[in-house]
Amino acid sequence: MDIMSNLALGFSIALSPYTLFLAVIGCFLGTMIGALPGLGPSNGVAILIPITFTLGLDATSALVLMTSVYYGAMYGGRISSILLNIPGDEPALMTTLDGYPMAKQGRAGDALVLSGVASFVGAFLATVGLLLLAPLLARVAYLFGPAEYFALYLLAFCTLGGVASNNQAKAAIASCIGLGIAMIGVDDNSGMPRLTGGNMHLADGIDFLVAIVGLFAIAEVFFFIEGHGRNSSIGVKLEKVVVPWRDIWLVKWTMLRASLVGFVAGILPGAGASLGSFLAYMSEKSIAGKEGGFGTGVAKGVAAPESGNNAAAGGALVPMLTLGVPGSGTTAVLLALLMTLNITPGPTLFTDRPEVVWGLIASLLIANVVLLLMNVPLVSFFVRILMVPAWILLPGVTMISFVGIYSLSGSYFDLLLMVAFGVLGYVLRKLDVPTVPVILGILLGGHMEDALRRAMVLSDGDFMYLFSSPIAIGFWIAAILGFVAPMFLRNVLAKPQRVTD
């Protein structure tokens, strides 16, 4: 079978001692990053990219390291959700709903182990789904021309704006900010500088890493200064940790269902892990009904969002690898990593660089096992990480961001831009304008324009060409639905608020 030989190739790369070592380091760092409130998968991965790049790792190693961090951060996010009632990252929000009540009942250890196992199941099934589905999708993606890609990019912006934000106009503005920034610099087609305002520093365009680190990491510092570290409250104590076999057995179907829901949500472009954990929790809640006791600290309520969240994290890699369209904020950051490493995601990646794809998939499977083994016995160590106070952590994050960006270009101008993006990120988040579309716009703006222009060259300027194939029409319809439908569903799908005690 094709998949088996491909997997064998992947494992031959991933099982080399060096790659294995990187995977373990990545998992460890990732769990720490996920556990720390204020650092999550997207900004954690973002501040590490410039450093990885400067270290001069080859493509496969860098990818293995960063995706291990990514999976690890997804695992780690649950720790502060359960113990402090503070989601370590956005997708972990749903875990607070039952995890924190469970911890308050003195079952913090059970909740942590249970959610660790649920994360493992979700991530494992999603990785299997990825390795089955991605090659198929890659084959379909060969049929895509510029018209289809243009519609696909539009779909990503629309669903991201529609599903993941509370106000369509704000999401559209965020996308336009990103796309507008992507236009700055020399135009590839005509070789003329655009929108630089005559500034020499802008002729090369704005580096997306500068924008990502500014929007995600520096903005976070401003938020902590505003809160004066108010969020670093002391939570529930952790007693001895034993494995709650009975609970794990009890939630087996919940984990499977939640993984499936999460995986599908992850594949949708623009939807991502937050939606995955949300849908998984809500569907399990309605299956369990009133007697299920969701929200009071039941095992199913801890397992469902964690499986969903981690499955969505895996699912989001499918469109990212096969189409070059990320499904979430963090995969957008991973896309930035691929672009930095000069790897162009898309169908050709599977034929031209099979060692990258399959090495990545194999190391995801390994990382997952490492994470489970690491998270159960070492959980009390990771809990201690939570004690790092914000007034040490946040200055540290800032300094790492500065060094990372500085070592990329060595120019003070990029550092200033990064600070400016930090301010922008603060203002945008204050106004409830999502920042992920900004990143997506900066990453995809060039490709989107290129697709449009190539389509117009092929059709000699006939705009109807954009709607000429069934696939393209399907994307357009999905894009419009994805943008408009949430306006009507908003009351039905209102996000539950955090439990306050």
Partner: protein, 146 residues
């Protein structure tokens, strides 16, 4: 209300300026049917429409920080800008210690722990970056200690 309207207005102005400067983009003789102007103008147009929607239908305003917190944010911003300029001429250690200490103070409001944080982070991160990760950092300004 007011915050969204103000932001919408700023976006609208920026979008119009963006469109205006897009019309100034020079086209070369090697051009495709779309050219380098159309896509930026399209983006500006979408942004302007969305900004109008925001002005007409604003969300409730967020809770903005009080004046004193605003001051701390401004100080943090100025320190970060100064740090960006200082990193090259003054080396890594001194600017980092000062910046980290000030940021730490803005979060904790305690003098001694912040200063210790600053010095600790500066030295710790330097060792990490220079020796463990082998990044080329310059510890001191040139000519110092020689």
């Amino acid at each position: 209300m007011a915050s969204d309207r103000l932001f919408g207005l700023v976006v609208l102005m920026t979008a119009l300026a963006f469109i205006a400067s897009a019309t100034q983009i020079q086209t070369s003789f090697l051009s495709d049917p779309v050219g380098p102007k159309a896509f930026p103008m399209l983006i500006g147009g979408v942004a302007a429409i969305s900004a109008l929607v925001m002005i007409i239908k604003p969300d409730p305003s967020p809770q903005w920080p009080v004046l004193k917190t605003f001051g701390s944010l401004l100080i943090a911003l100025l320190v970060l800008v100064a740090y960006a300029y200082a990193l090259k001429p003054f080396g890594f250690l001194f600017p980092t210690a000062v910046t980290a200490a000030i940021l730490s103070y803005q979060i904790s409001s305690r003098v001694v722990p912040s200063m210790l944080t600053g010095v600790g982070l500066s030295i710790g991160l330097f060792i990490l970056f220079k020796y463990a990760l082998k990044l080329g950092l310059v510890p001191f300004p040139q000519g110092f200690l020689s």
